[in-house]
């Protein structure tokens, strides 16, 4: 079995984002992507990172302020994990074959795009945030069994089994539409429970 993730995903090489940094992309979002920067707009890695940053802002504006002193250590750890996931997503990674029937072109999707597909599933399950995402199995070999493992953060007070089931269904549906991977299972680990009042310092 071949587990593929990156030991230290926050360490970005300049080429991962075609010479840009997460901070620059964040500033680009702040400016409403204006003036347009072709070196960002034409970079798939930057687009993946921008989408993820934007989702993060929409879903959890309080997490964006996590570098303020008010945040707890545990919260910062989770934010680091989310940012690590984004930077990892932005890497193209391996080329995963897409098997077209009848056989035609040499078709594929980058590993970064597949991670993006999985991460975007959080849009449909309110409050869930996806952190690390790993593939167990050789995704470069068509038909090879692949187990998907994701770590998630969920909001306190919502039944976890229901959230996890919905997320699993959504990930499975999305992978079927965008890949021809032989997914044998989707393991979801809830590694963080978020208490809303601890984020903002306000009592509810």
């Amino acid at each position: 079995m071949n587990t593929h993730d990156t030991p230290d995903p926050l360490r970005m090489e300049p080429d991962d984002l075609d010479g840009h940094t997460i901070e620059e992309l964040s500033d680009y979002l702040d400016s409403g992507r204006s003036p347009a920067d072709p070196s960002i707009d034409e970079s798939a890695g930057c687009q993946i990172a921008l989408d993820a940053l934007e989702r993060l802002r929409v879903l959890t504006p309080e997490l964006i302020a996590a570098d303020t002193a008010a945040e707890s250590e545990a919260d910062e750890g989770w934010v680091q994990s989310i940012l690590a996931g984004i930077t990892l997503d932005a890497r193209a990674g391996r080329r995963i074959p897409i098997v077209i029937d009848p056989p035609g072109p040499d078709a594929g999707i980058t590993e970064g795009a597949v991670r993006e597909v999985i991460r975007a599933a959080e849009n449909t399950v309110s409050g869930v945030l996806i952190g690390r995402c790993r593939f167990d199995g050789d995704v470069t070999v068509p038909g090879e069994p692949v187990l998907i493992r994701v770590d998630v953060s969920v909001p306190y007070g919502q039944p976890i089994p229901g959230l996890v089931d919905r997320l699993r269904t959504e990930i499975n549906m999305r992978l079927s539409a965008h890949t021809t991977l032989n997914v044998t299972g989707i393991d979801i680990t809830v590694s963080d429970l978020r208490h809303p009042s601890s984020r903002t310092g306000e009592e509810r």
């Binding site: 075609d18 070196s39 034409e42 934007e54 080329r95 072109p105 539409a177």
Partner: protein
């Protein structure tokens, strides 16, 4: 790239962009070649309007390399099928011979966020 190849690449690009589900076209090729390409464009020896499609003459024949972004709702598998069919028609009409077509999805355009167009 010869002018004939440039014209073919441009037509393939138009056909690809016209396919439902295609959100954007990205510069095809390896990271290294794209870095060189970006450098060439930065110092003005390559035009920004150059085709994003990569054409290569190999001993086996023409090879076409395409990198696309796909609309989330359209599905990468279905979109690749459409692009492949459209590109094959263009190549057969203009090139008159079969070619190896390589299509890679490099980005899924999340419809809930503001995706940029390449």
């Amino acid at each position: 790239m010869t002018s004939q190849e440039s014209a073919l690449a441009a037509d393939i690009e138009i056909a690809t962009r016209a396919m439902p589900g295609v959100a954007a076209l990205f510069r095809a090729g390896s990271l290294a070649s794209n870095v060189l390409d970006a450098g060439a464009r930065a110092i003005g020896i390559r035009d920004d309007s150059d085709p994003l499609i990569r054409l290569e003459q190999t001993p086996e024949g023409l090879r076409v390399d395409i990198a696309i972004g796909v609309q989330d709702h359209a599905g990468a598998v279905e979109t690749i099928r459409r692009v492949q069919a459209a590109v094959r028609v263009v190549i057969e009409e203009q090139h008159g011979a079969r070619a190896e077509i390589r299509i890679t999805v490099v980005h899924i355009n999340d419809t809930t966020t503001q995706g940029g167009e390449a």
